[in-house]
């Protein structure tokens, strides 16, 4: 085709040829790389998730991810299910259920904060928290991830249900720094008030949604340990 005469019509063919040829090449390259890295990326993701789960549920040794079906039942997650409405159940070395890792998200100071927290079902407390995603101000708001005093709030945060079993007995309540007197209160951080209050509210919303549903269907998790 190098001898194409300089007219209007014959020039169309090289254009198609180039576009289709380059497109084909690019497509092959992308699909090839995707196939090649795919398993590795999936493994990285699973490992990262597992690390986070074990951090918020220190007693857990293995985990399985469940999804909420029809707003009431829990089923082990199949391949390729949508990523929302998931909970992660953690089991100890004997395969006994120790608790669940729950997700929550909400608006912080700068942007949306996404957290994972551990719910120990035996004593009905939150036992650990990890910020998965935040853009809080470095040095101020991001102390929600590092401040030891703040993180100590979540060593045993009371999230018992009331008698009806459909709501928390006490809503998780943010208080001013150093004024925590009850087990369901969250001490704020001086200089990062909005971020720490945001965390308490995110936890409260997520706990109020998930915990009644989970306690109503605890057997869904027990039967399915890996």
């Amino acid at each position: 085709m190098s001898a194409a005469p300089p007219g209007e019509q014959p020039r169309v063919w090289p254009m198609y040829r180039a576009m289709v040829g380059v497109g084909l090449m690019c497509g092959l390259l992308i699909v090839g790389v995707f196939q090649w890295t795919g398993p590795r990326i999936a493994r990285n993701r699973a490992e990262a998730l597992e690390r986070a789960i074990f951090q918020v549920l220190p007693a857990a040794r293995s985990s399985t991810t469940f999804r909420l079906v029809d707003g009431e039942r829990f089923e082990p997650r199949g391949e390729g299910d949508a990523a929302d409405s998931l909970v992660h159940a953690g089991y100890d070395a004997e395969g006994e259920l120790v608790g669940l890792a729950l997700e929550g998200r909400g608006m912080g100071y700068q942007d949306v904060i996404h957290v994972l927290f551990g719910y120990a079902f035996a004593d009905e407390t939150v036992v650990g928290i990890r910020v998965l995603e935040s853009r809080e101000t470095p040095g101020l708001g991001d102390r929600i991830e590092t401040d030891p005093g703040f993180l100590a709030n979540f060593d045993a945060l009371d999230v018992r249900l009331d008698e009806s079993g459909s709501a928390l007995a006490h809503a998780i309540e943010p208080v001013k720094p150093g004024e925590k007197t009850e087990a369901w209160q969250v001490d704020g951080i001086t200089g990062a008030t909005i971020s720490s209050v945001a965390i308490a509210n995110i936890l409260d919303q997520s706990a109020a949604f998930w915990i009644p549903r989970i306690r109503a269907r605890l057997d869904d998790f027990r039967g399915a340990q890996p």
Binding site: R17, A18, C26, L29, I30, F34, I41, G139
Partner: protein, 220 residues
């Protein structure tokens, strides 16, 4: 700008990107990633290397296809090629380290619209041999890496008192938070640009003083 007959074309194509035509400090191109992810030296280095890879890959492909692609669809094919390489880099980084991928975020994908890459493909690779294009891409890419690294290093040292995560100062060091914030990126880049402007101006005055008859060899 066609094939120039420089005595040592190879070294010049490579070296010009490092300093004389440095993409960030002199041409002021590709600033979006340069500022967005340069809050630590590690992120800056990763971003620079990713850009270097895309630049080399796309320059090679564009240069070897330069007789095959008609003029009318040139830009479209270039964008296609660049987007392909960026997707490849995106998956490669995810496979290497998810944490790094999270730190760089959407800015890896945004390499596609880095004017530096399309600019080199259009202005250089489409008119030169594969070897020359490769050297050009390597030089420009390395210049970009160096620029990002110098931004990232300054911001990390001043902002968190460390370099590549290694603490440099004693315990009580209070970082300048502003350097890690977006504003710090603007200020640091402005500082480097000032330095480069000043160096160039000084060199120009010196050359003018040396050769009052008309300086032909002055830098651009």
């Amino acid at each position: 700008m066609s094939d120039e007959s420089v005595p040592t074309p190879g070294t010049d194509e490579f070296v010009k990107g490092l300093w004389r035509e440095n993409p960030v400090f002199v041409q002021v191109l590709g600033m979006c990633p340069a500022l967005a992810v340069s809050n630590t030296a590690r992120n800056a280095l990763a971003m620079g290397l990713a850009t270097l890879f895309v630049l080399v890959g796309s320059n090679l492909v564009v240069s070897s296809l330069r007789h095959f692609v008609p003029r009318q669809v040139r830009i479209a094919t270039y964008i296609l090629v660049i987007a392909t390489f960026v997707t490849v880099v995106d998956y490669a980084i995810q496979a290497i380290s998810l944490d790094l991928h999270k730190a760089l975020g959407a800015f890896i994908s945004l390499i596609v619209v880095n004017c530096l890459i399309l600019g080199r493909a259009e202005a250089f690779a489409s008119r030169n041999h594969v070897g020359t294009a490769l050297l050009d891409a390597l030089g420009m890419g390395t210049g970009f890496v160096l620029a990002l690294l110098s931004l990232g290093a300054v911001r990390e040292i001043l902002g968190s008192g460390s370099l590549f995560g290694v603490p440099l100062f004693h315990e009580g060091f209070q970082g300048w938070v502003v350097m890690i914030l977006p504003a710090g990126g603007f200020f640091t880049l402005a500082g480097w640009l000032l330095l480069f402007n000043w160096l160039r101006e000084r060199r120009a005055t010196r050359l003018a003083a040396l050769e009052p008859v008309g300086a032909t060899g002055g830098g651009r």
